[in-house]
């Protein structure tokens, strides 16, 4: 039995009204929302660091209306899911296994993976484990490969210092620099107070934001880095996805996953549509251009796989 989820505070309900469900994946409780018709095509909307399912709040209703089933999980360590403080719990392989478990338990068929930031490799990594049930991919400002390391992730100033030993404990844990400032300071549109609070709230409690620190530490930059082999594995298997309808949506103003990343995605997934570029948006493009991104995604899905699952 999954544990009971922490109740959603009243102030959050107007901006995130959907009921949260819980499932046990690999011994931990994973929280997710599951909206829309059961028979509709499942669309898995996958967030990254340091956000949670809240990032996809503008996608849920339009997808429902178009006949899809929107499933938005919080990764183990994030959102309303369990947050164990065990460094080695949080590798790329673990996250992939957690999502595979969710897909299996919900018996998802013909699903769509929508991923941004860590949602990309973790979602595609899981999809590759169940590739026969994958129907489409939508990737936004993310990466699925080794070799290209952008300036942001490579720079010691301040990124690699942020998550260095002990230093990260001070900045990210004691002062919550990333979990408190990340989405709020990055947003081009600017978040409302309630939206900002929804991001802060989730990592408010001491020790709750461990993943904020382990995620950057597992960005595989060179051979031997934690997760490097897993990422390489995904990269090598990308050709298997050549017949899967794929769409790239990109915010070129994002200084983390710059347009070079989109180009590299295009090289590895030559049949992908796009990238469709979205201005006035930064790394958390779903915050900045949510409804537009949802519309492009639904148009693409209607055109390619449709909301109904055949057979």
């Amino acid at each position: 039995m999954p544990r009971e989820l922490k109740p959603k505070p009243a102030w959050m309900k107007p901006v995130f009204p959907w009921e949260q469900h819980a499932l046990t994946v690999n011994g931990r409780t994973m929280a997710y929302i599951d909206e829309g018709q059961r028979e509709g095509r499942p669309v898995l909307l996958l967030h990254g660091n340091p956000t949670w399912g809240f990032l996809y709040r503008d996608f849920v209703e339009p997808l429902k209306k178009a006949g899809y089933r929107a499933i938005v999980p919080d990764w183990i360590g994030a959102g309303f899911s369990d947050k164990p403080r065990i460094d080695s719990r949080y590798t790329l392989a673990h996250h992939i296994a957690d999502l595979v478990s969710l897909m299996d338990q919900l018996k998802l068929r013909g699903f769509v993976i929508v991923g941004q930031d860590w949602g990309g490799p973790q979602g595609v990594g899981a999809a590759l484990q169940r590739v026969e049930r994958l129907s489409a991919l939508i990737m936004m400002n993310t990466w699925l490969f080794t070799g290209l390391v952008g300036r942001f992730h490579a720079s010691p100033r301040p990124w690699t210092t942020w998550h260095a030993p002990l230093i990260a404990q001070f900045f990210m844990k004691r002062h919550k620099v990333l979990s408190q400032a990340g989405p709020t300071l990055t947003s081009k549109k600017g978040l409302t107070q309630t939206e900002a609070r929804a991001y802060h709230y989730i990592y408010d409690e001491p020790e709750s934001d461990h993943i904020v620190l382990t995620w950057p530490r597992t960005i595989p930059m060179k051979e031997g880095d934690r997760g490097f082999a897993d990422m390489l594995h995904i990269e090598k298997r990308l050709p298997e996805l050549k017949d899967i309808p794929t769409l790239l949506l990109w915010a070129p103003e994002d200084n983390v996953f710059t347009i070079e990343y989109a180009q590299r995605m295009k090289e590895l997934l030559p049949n992908a549509e796009g990238p469709i570029l979205f201005d006035k948006a930064a790394h958390f493009l779903q915050d900045d251009r949510g409804p537009d991104l949802a519309k492009s995604s639904i148009d693409f899905l209607n055109r390619t796989v449709g909301a109904a699952i055949k057979g």
């Binding site: 403080r85 065990i86 460094d87 080695s88 010691p156 100033r157 301040p158 210092t161 942020w162 260095a164 030993p165 002990l166 230093i167 404990q169 001070f170 900045f171 844990k173 004691r174 002062h175 919550k176 620099v177 408190q180 400032a181 709020t184 300071l185 530490r217 934690r226």
Partner: protein
Amino acid sequence: MEFVTPTAEELSYLRADPLLWEQELDVRPDVAEDIEKALGFRAGRAYWRSEHDHLYALELADTGHGRPSQATVYGFWERYEPRPPEHEIDADLFKFLLWFAGQTKSLDPADIELTATFAQRQTGGVRLTWLEGSILRTPDERFSNLPGFHYTPRYTEIEGLRMAYVEAGEGDPILMLHGEPTWGYIYRKMVPVLSQVGRVVVPDLIGFGRSDKPVEDNAYSYKAHCRWIRKFILALDLKNITLICQDWGGLIGLRVVSQLPDRFRRIVPMNTGIPNGYGMSEAFMAWRRFSQRQTFLDLRIGSGTLTPEEQNAYRAPFPSAAYQTAGLVFPRLVPIRPDHPGAYDNRVAIEKLRTLEIPALPIAGENDPITSGAVHFLRSIFKNVAPVVTIKNAGHFIQEDAGEEVAKRIVEWMKNGTA
């Protein structure tokens, strides 16, 4: 960074509070190895004292990797007192991280400064100074009518706090430290006499007089008061000091003498002591119990009659109870038990004082029940000590009761070696 070896006894009086914990230090093996090299061990503890006099330790453990693979930074706090202000801990940790990065090849201290600057842009970011609104400053107009104390206040900044003092005369400094719950004003009868023979410097302790007053309890500790006075002495670069102190002025001043012995030339403790945790007087314990039940202290200072103006001068620093945190906390900070960390620190200080040749003149008010027992113990500490001078008809606030007489006796002793 200078590492120290605290005694087992000191550690036994403190509680260790884990501040930073790195479960897998070897997530960056290069960093782990550099730290091992810098400390010279793979598993163990390195202790240091910060500029705030707090004790910290970096603990390394090898969880079976053949290199330091786990790290914890502890702060050690007084067992019976609240944690010190968070900004002090932040500042201390921040300094440690700069050192830490400096020991490694792959981390640059400059990047840490940069990250801190970024973090300061947002609320709840790294804050290395007092929280806005956490310090009160008594309005100047409350000090407009001070009979017998017409000296222009001077100010110096200590750890972001404005510390006030007055000065008179020239020559070697004569530092006068007041106690609970008074301020520099209490020395007004002594300043005119002593300023004839030296440069009188009368500071107001933090939380008193014209000095700034942090609002929160935990801003005040025995250590913090000593540190502030030590930094005050260094800021004014006082040397050859004659220390005159009463009540808490002595608890603080005498410990500071043990920390900066080379800067002191004479010591005059009056109605004070350096409690080592044994044998507090019944009168003190009664005062402690009484004071800890109060929400505001409005004491009659001295055994004689004060004019309403004089009485108001003692009230001037405290427009309301919010301004009096320091005064309300003081009795609680007196180390009354042997296992109080302040008692341990005083025992260390006493051992140091025993070795010093600095001449001392203990003075006692005949009618002071609070510290009268302590004076003989105090006298036993000093090598080069004059007989106790007992002032007739004087109580605890001896400066108020017999200021001029006391001042004259001190001048006499300074000149002739006898009082």
